[in-house]
């Protein structure tokens, strides 16, 4: 690394301010003004659209295995999803996924 300390702090400050503004954007600026119905309808699906899409490439092509699909990780993801769908319980899903991952890593 060849950056000076002020440059590093400039990067940190820019990221801090920029990230806060992204998080604050709609929440801070729109506030209590009503969103149109179509907007609310779209935003209802933000979490279920973003979070699985965020992790899907890493599940199928993990960086840790140089992008090769890994049966242990696939099984752990399947176990998490199945337990979550069946029990509707987050903690049960985490336990199922972690157990599958640990078992697969140990015996695999």
């Amino acid at each position: 690394m060849q950056f000076s300390s002020p440059t590093i702090w400039l990067i940190i400050a820019a990221l801090g301010v920029g990230t806060f503004l992204l998080r604050w954007s709609f929440l801070g600026a729109i506030g209590n003004r009503p969103l149109p119905e179509w907007g609310q309808r779209l935003l209802r699906y933000t979490a279920v659209a973003v979070l699985p899409a965020l992790v899907a490439p890493g599940i199928l092509w993990p960086a840790a295995t140089d992008g090769r699909p890994d049966p242990v990780r696939l099984a752990a993801a399947a176990a998490t999803l199945a337990a979550g769908l069946l029990t509707r319980n987050t903690l049960a899903a985490i336990v199922a996924g972690a157990a599958a991952l640990a078992a697969g890593s140990y015996w695999g």
Partner: protein
């Protein structure tokens, strides 16, 4: 005050997501705060090892202790912090570092918009506080809480969010410090990369209640896989709106069918 909960009930202290709606609606803010804390505990599986790892990686990149902590306090966004430090270690141009790390955080603007219906009428400094503490995990818990208990008041939602954030965010900072000073104490052969997918899937699976939710998730995932080659995870910025549009479209169709009486 209506109090359907049996006295001495410790509702929601274990897995948390099974508190009945009527009981949750009768919660005092302090109880909602504690329920948020309890629900956030599993996410320590993510915050602790990744905080450690960030401390280690930032030291290896040549940052000093104060800069390392500064990253976790001021940015408070794991994936973008790793991106920035990786590019700092490679001596990338400053503007490229800032732009790449902010691109990783663009999804936060979508989170911000989707929380407007639940926190929009809170005071402006409360909304600013929610914004500062808005990470993937606190967002997922806030949405799960709002969907499971539609009758909650803004103070109840706020208390739940702050309880969850108190468990999720400070450990990120504390374990950044621990990693920066002690070095990596997580065994190298642990499949640490997979903690994030497991916790995210475990949050999302219980939310897949309707065909519209399933459609949003499936379209988002398929598009993200198809666009996985784009840099800095920017495929997500196309995949996520496609998934959201799919969910909204299926919901519209379901409503139309229900109105026409063909179920």
């Amino acid at each position: 005050m209506p109090s359907p909960a049996p006295s001495g009930s410790t509702a929601g202290t274990s897995a948390g997501l099974h508190v009945s709606t009527s009981r949750a609606s009768a919660e005092r803010p302090r109880q909602a705060f504690r329920r948020g804390m309890a629900q956030a505990v599993p996410f320590l599986l993510v915050m602790v090892p990744y905080g450690l790892l960030f401390g280690v990686v930032a030291q290896a990149a040549g940052l000093n202790l104060l800069q390392t902590i500064g990253f976790s306090v001021l940015v408070l966004a794991g994936a973008s912090q790793f991106t920035a430090v990786e590019l700092i270690a490679q001596n990338a141009p400053v503007l490229l570092i800032i732009a790449s790390a902010l691109a990783v955080n663009l999804r936060m603007a979508m989170y911000s918009a989707s929380l407007v219906p639940y926190f929009g009428s809170a005071r402006s400094w409360h909304r600013a506080l929610v914004a500062y503490l808005l990470v993937d995990q606190s967002y997922a818990l806030a949405i799960a809480n709002a969907e499971a208990h539609p009758g909650l008041s803004v103070p109840q939602r706020l208390a739940h969010f702050l309880g969850a954030a108190l468990v999720i965010c400070p450990p990120w900072i504390i374990f950044t410090y621990v990693g920066a000073t002690l070095g990596n104490i997580v065994p190298a052969h642990w499949p640490l990369d997979f903690v994030v997918p497991i916790t995210f899937l475990s949050m999302i699976a219980p939310m897949l209640r309707t065909r519209a939710h399933v459609a949003a998730a499936v379209v988002g995932v398929v598009a993200a896989l198809a666009l996985a080659g784009l840099p800095n995870g920017s495929g997500l910025l196309i995949a996520a709106p496609l998934g959201m549009a799919a969910g909204a479209w299926v919901e519209t169709r379901m409503i139309r069918r229900a109105i026409m009486g063909r179920g």
